[in-house]
């Protein structure tokens, strides 16, 4: 399966390379993937890019941590009160129809062009996916394990740490992966719209100056980082999912 997936991606990249090389795609629209790699390599030799990367990845990191923790706690809270859940369910399900970026210029006007409004926008963009993942995971938590917690005289906190978190981990990890993706979208998107530094700002700058290879090189950098983080998160996700499979198969 994995080999087929790699083969599929390689085929698409090869077709894209060919389409760009023979002129099917306008070079002002897209450069060949090999040129993107060359541009990325050139970028990584520039000292200045590391300052932008540090700013962007710091903002993403803060957003991931805050959105994951806040989303998890809010998910537990909403799940604990069925009436509250019924009240907020329409907001949560239609949340991604709301353009969170619309609030970013307002935040930037109030807080300035620093990392603050970018991080807040990214958190708001990501937190709901964690809330939904947490509630969905808690719905799947076997009630018999609550009885087990009682039998072992667990406190609320021990129950969460020793039973609930490991039991729902395989359902939480996809939520964390979405938080990572939405945090990147929030940060890069905000920087692209209005910022003084950061990878998103550099993409915007290259775009405004028709520096297409550089723009795609920067986009490739973001893609590589996101894919690496998601692959790392897939390792524990697969471990927990493989063990949870037996219970469902019975």
């Amino acid at each position: 399966m994995r080999r087929r997936r790699i083969l599929l991606v390689a085929t698409v990249v090869a077709l894209l390379e060919a389409a760009c090389r023979v002129g099917l795609i306008d070079p002002n629209t897209m450069v060949p993937p090999s040129s993107m790699v060359v541009a990325l390599a050139a970028l990584l030799r520039e000292e200045a890019i590391y300052t932008d990367m540090a700013q962007t990845f710091f903002a993403v990191g803060v957003s991931v941590v805050v959105a994951t923790v806040a989303g998890f706690l809010l998910g537990i809270l909403i799940h604990s009160f069925p009436r509250l859940r019924r009240a907020v369910a329409p907001i949560l399900t239609s949340y991604y129809a709301i353009p969170v970026f619309a609030f970013y210029p307002g935040l930037a006007a109030v807080m300035g062009l620093g990392p603050g409004p970018i991080i807040i926008t990214a958190i708001f963009n990501a937190v709901v996916s964690m809330i939904i993942a947490t509630m969905d995971a808690l719905d799947r938590f076997p009630r018999v394990l609550l009885k087990l917690a009682h039998m072992h005289h667990f406190s609320w906190w021990q129950r969460v740490i020793h039973l609930q978190l490991p039991a729902i981990a395989s359902n939480l990890l996809p939520g964390i992966k979405l938080v990572v993706a939405y945090s990147f979208i929030g940060v890069i998107g905000s920087e692209f719209l209005m910022a003084a530094a950061g990878v998103g700002y550099k993409i915007s700058y290259a775009y405004d100056n028709f520096n297409v290879p550089r723009m795609y090189g920067l986009m490739l950098l973001v893609i590589v980082v996101v894919v690496v983080i998601n692959s790392l998160l897939s390792v524990p996700e697969r471990w927990f999912a493989a063990r949870a499979l037996g219970r469902r198969a019975e």
Partner: protein
Amino acid sequence: MRLATASQMVAETATAEAHVECAALTRSFPAVNGTGELPVLGPISLSIRRGEFFSVIGPSGCGKSTFMDVLAGLTTPTGGTVRFEDKPVVGGTVPDGIGAVFQQDASLPWLSVWENIAFGLRRRGTDPVEIKRLVDYALGFMGLTPFAHAYPNQLSGGMRQRTCIARTLVMKPRLILLDEPFAALDAQTRLLMGDELLRLWRETNATVVLITHALDEAAMLSDRVGAMSARPGRFIELIETGWSRDRDSTIVSDPGYGALSSRLWSVLRKESMKALDHSLGTEKE
């Protein structure tokens, strides 16, 4: 086989040392339509003797599992009292010395069999050397030693349930509550698991309360079988099986076993019909 009517129950069992005592026990839940209470259990007055193997049978929805939850302290009775070793059982607090195995798979899929069995001991803060000794013994006792490092998803349903029993066993409970632990298993595995359960009961000298819908299982395993009525569940008859303590699954070929199973069904048939009428909404006003 000896029968006791409801009026004789408390007086008869009071002669032996009572390990668990229920007095006028009732449990109700809020009605689904939101008006009033739905009585699901009782009133029940019953004594379970120390070291007894007591089975509870009854029609679906008669409150068997609720009865077990009340005995374990997992839920608070609406009325009446439960006493374990002469101390009151308060809902929400499971007394020390009570262990339970549930119908649903309660193995922890992220832990190996060894870690599953050690789970309660570790949380209790038992010395690691003692944990190893107890877990290794339980693994051997339940025939799980070759699977000590396997994960639950690599085991059959029966082996997973044995893991859960072993996890309860290592806590050295004096009262073991079993809520239909073999319900998901095939007939042959259930017979063999019944043998293991009897062996465990003899070895630990614990009092066992088994909730089951399988009349043959109750007939084979028990010292005494309590037959419950349709909802709200009350004990309508207590039946002494008269089996010796060293019994095993070979008693299914004993003529007394057939008579006992037949007797249990004749007691339960009317109640099961009532329960069916309840669920179909065809009961007579």
